[in-house]
């Protein structure tokens, strides 16, 4: 890849809109190119300025009341991902946004809201890319002994791989994906028609509370004492059950 091509891809890369192959090719180029690194850093600064420093205006209570007053009694809601506690969650997200904005001026380390934002964005993007790809896994599991050796040499440390077929979550396989600049192992499970990605994260990865985006949920967990994140479109109850199965191992 040359700089001209890289320059064209930098913004889609930051926006999480690149396919996996292009991400790899771009990262390989940027690793060796000071000019593109500088361009990426400049774009990062603009993004940080907007996300951390530009205000997001919350709807005033008067407007919310006005719309609620005119709304009919809820009867039926087709295909919106409505949660019973959405308003609480939305308030929490906005609170986190404000708190994040306040904190970020002093700490942009791995524990900061900015870092967590980037990581959760990468995790969702990775999950969606995998769903859109021809296959969500790079190695198919015939049994767990095929998956762990496959990771060797591809990531710093191969995760311990367990099949939870007995509990209703059979292991589909594994793949490697990027979270930030780190290559991480991803274990892929299935429940009915839903895919569940388990990302084994570096020790310094940020953690946080549950996040929902477009009907997909991200929860932070642990796997054999390692930091992990789970992304799926399973419903909340089943996902909680999967998380407890995973953490109990």
């Amino acid at each position: 890849m040359d700089c001209k091509e890289a320059a064209r891809l930098l913004e889609p890369y930051l926006d999480g809109e690149l396919d996996r192959d292009s991400v790899r090719a771009l990262e390989a180029h940027v690793d060796d190119c000071a000019e593109c690194q500088a361009a990426l850093a400049n774009l990062g600064r603009v993004r940080h300025a907007m996300r951390a420093e530009a205000p997001r205006y919350a709807a005033p209570a008067s407007l919310r009341d006005r719309i609620r007053r005119e709304a009919p009694a809820p009867a039926y809601a087709p295909r919106t991902h409505r949660m019973p506690a959405w308003s609480r969650l939305a308030a929490a997200c906005f609170g986190a946004f404000v708190a994040g904005a306040a904190v970020m001026h002093y700490a942009a380390g791995p524990g900061s809201a900015d870092a967590r934002d980037q990581v959760s964005r990468d995790l969702f993007a990775s999950h969606w890319r995998a769903l859109a790809a021809a296959s969500p896994v790079d190695v198919v599991s015939s049994d767990r002994h095929t998956v762990r050796p496959w990771f060797a040499g591809k990531v710093a440390e191969s995760p311990r791989v367990t099949d939870f077929a007995d509990q209703g979550f059979p292991l589909v396989g594994g793949r490697v994906d990027y979270v930030g600049a780190a290559r991480v192992p991803v274990l892929v499970y299935r429940h009915d028609k839903h895919l569940i990605d388990v990302y084994v994260l570096p020790a310094d990865a940020p953690a946080g509370t549950m996040l929902r985006r477009d009907g997909y949920t991200l929860i932070w967990s642990t796997l054999d004492g390692e930091r992990a994140a789970i992304v799926s479109d399973l419903d909340a109850g089943e996902l909680a059950r999967f998380e407890s199965v995973l953490a109990a191992k």
């Binding site: 996300r51 919350a58 919106t80």
Partner: protein, 180 residues
């Protein structure tokens, strides 16, 4: 969908994405009253035209209606102040030299600066940036809201970021400018 069901659906949708709608309205129209009125108009319009929703991303459908109401409000508004030319904003520049320790006043000043620069951007760049960076919409969703191809979304984001980057860059010292 029956009429009652569709209007209940619109209410749920509007409530869930009310902050996103209002935020977009504030950035397009500037003040609380106009933004709230435009969002309310959008709600009324969405309720009436729920049957036009043809599937796909419901949030983008709702935000597209909000945006149309904002643009309609902008059009009817008599502009007392002409919009400031982008070049002037670029020239004005803001000193954002990063210090390790910042007082809260400096942080606040930076926040005001970015807000000022964003507001000074032409509206087509501003709305694309707000939807991407603050509302976290994907290219596809932004394309749906703005009713333009994805390629146009990408070029507007890119142009908007370039203008913002230029506007936020620290000004070079006077001497250097003449020395070149």
């Amino acid at each position: 969908m029956t009429a009652a069901a569709s209007s209940a659906w619109v209410s749920a949708l509007a409530e869930e994405h009310l902050d996103a709608a209002y935020n977009l309205g504030r950035w397009l129209l500037g003040n609380e009253q106009d933004a709230a009125d435009a969002v309310h108009d959008a709600f009324v319009r969405a309720t009436r035209s729920a049957h036009t929703y043809g599937g796909g991303n419901a949030r983008a459908w709702w935000l597209a209606i909000v945006r149309n109401c904002c643009l309609a409000a902008l059009k009817t508004r008599r502009r007392e102040t002409p919009s400031v030319a982008v070049e002037a904003i670029v020239d004005a520049g803001v000193d954002t030299a990063a210090n390790d320790v910042e007082s809260s006043a400096e942080v606040e000043e930076r926040s005001r600066a970015i807000e000022r620069q964003l507001r000074a951007l032409p509206v087509e760049f501003r709305e694309a940036l707000i939807l991407r960076e603050i509302e976290d919409l994907s290219y596809r969703e932004i394309a749906d809201v703005l009713d333009v191809p994805i390629g146009t979304v990408m070029s507007r984001l890119s142009r908007g970021r370039a203008l913002l980057q230029k506007a936020l860059a620290p000004r070079p010292p006077e001497g250097d400018m003449h020395g070149l």
